[in-house]
Symmetry: C2
DNA sequence: CCAAAAGTGTTGAAGTTACACCCATGC
DNA sequence: GCATGGGTGTAACTTCAACACTTTTGG
């Protein structure tokens, strides 16, 4: 396990990633099944890894993402550090570490990130822990290994806050999309319904999207217009935020 | 330096605190002068310390705060982890570590917090690093040791974001205060002017404050009414946020 | 009586909410 | 022709931004 020099592992710091994706209907998170250990029931966990000594935190998270999804240059933002000395307190978690880690009782602090990816770009990778990965509906996540549920909740909260301050969607949707896909995305991040007309008005006023000369085909209802993000304006809004409340 | 068992130090993780205070006119941060080392020019730094093995991150930050200010139960919120392998890259920072740390080249990841305190409650403590502490105007902070300037900027940004989502002030002001003190506080956090009348109207509509039966005395102008925070409502607003933009 | 900060209202513009019907398509 | 989701407008209401004069006190 111990590799030397350039790839020296720091056994005290890990990174875990909450990778959000959108299936055009609901929000999902890419979770892995923790590698099986005799006598420990299966349990889902956030993908993560120990960091290398020469690697900065963002790079470590990027590496985990790359190994898992094959994707580079993904949106990534830090959620924070989680370092409760007893963040591993469930008996099954301890057993699992004993079977897997070289120093199972060491205190490991994890730096969590969340990431937004387009599920269509994702292709399962052959790397060890990626084989067991699957996209789980946010609403179905009730329990995770270690303190990962807490981390997941913090990441989701961060995403909810972000959506009120900045445009979101560029990273989660394909290049062209329909208005109702965008609408569903917002609803599923916020967890409540939004009026269709008001939503459209607001998006158009913000100049976040512009319509393409292309319509859906083969759908058994009025075909919808395709849209894309107005990149210039989107970036401007990212920088300055919505600045809503008015203090 | 190496203490044993209960107070075993983790030499790879530190915490640093950006402690904000308000002097009724401008926003300040409590900085310390790094302990003098021959051949290293003096430089201000954020107060911080390595953490103990059995201590969680919030507690470590709370401990630093307590040692520095004598205050308990202070508002404290994590800014994030800063762990660039070359976060110590300035030659003077390296020299300083060589003189002070037992393992000066070790990579140390720091978990930063910011904190809001009432400057009047602060009393300089006799602890080692607290002696050289002073409240520096936010606008005068141009350079700090290590990556502390970057951390300071991240904390300030977090504070600015927070002020648009939640009430602020309870931790920074004394129990009773005037409207213009509150007004100045908001202006100095945001860094721009706010219309007096509109500000007052907004605060009152939110029910954040209520007036006391007491006026300023001995001032050479119309004495102002004292106010206090409406605690019940303040807490409610803290929980639900302002929820401004309307998605 | 002067200097200094406190306190107070109105108006026009912009934004928000709530709400219901017709449209284009595949089958 | 029917089921399905796409697309559209308006009116009442609330919020926001901009703006200037009077008040109370100490000296």
């Amino acid at each position: 396990m111990q590799i030397k020099n350039k790839h020296q592992i720091n056994h005290r710091i890990s990174t875990d990633c909450v990778i959000f994706g959108f299936d055009f209907n609901q929000l999902r998170v890419l979770l892995i099944e923790r590698q099986p250990v005799e006598g420990v029931p299966q349990m889902m966990a956030l993908p993560g890894d120990l960091i290398f000594e020469e690697e900065n935190l963002d790079m470590a998270a990027g590496r985990v993402l790359k190994e898992l999804t094959g994707l580079n240059d993904i949106f990534l933002e830090q959620v924070g550090a989680f370092g409760d000395p007893n963040r591993v307190n469930k008996p099954n978690d301890k057993k699992w570490l004993q079977a897997v880690r070289q120093d199972p009782d060491a205190r490991v602090i994890t730096v969590a990130y969340y990431s937004l990816v387009n599920m269509n770009d994702y292709e399962p990778q052959p790397s060890s822990f990626a084989k067991s990965a699957s996209w789980i509906l946010v609403d179905d996540i009730k329990e995770l290994a270690f303190d990962h549920f807490e981390i997941f909740q913090a990441a989701l909260k961060k995403l909810k806050d972000k959506i009120n301050m900045q445009p979101i969607g560029f990273n989660l949707l394909p290049e062209k999309f329909t208005f109702s896909q965008l609408h569903k995305l917002y609803e599923s991040i916020l967890g409540n319904e939004l009026d269709k007309r008001n939503f459209r008005r607001k998006m158009l006023k913000l100049n976040m999207v512009e319509s393409l000369d292309e319509k859906q085909e083969g759908v058994p209802h009025k075909p919808s217009q395709y849209f894309k993000f107005n990149e210039e304006n989107y970036l401007k809004l990212l920088e300055k935020g919505f600045n809503n409340f008015g203090f």
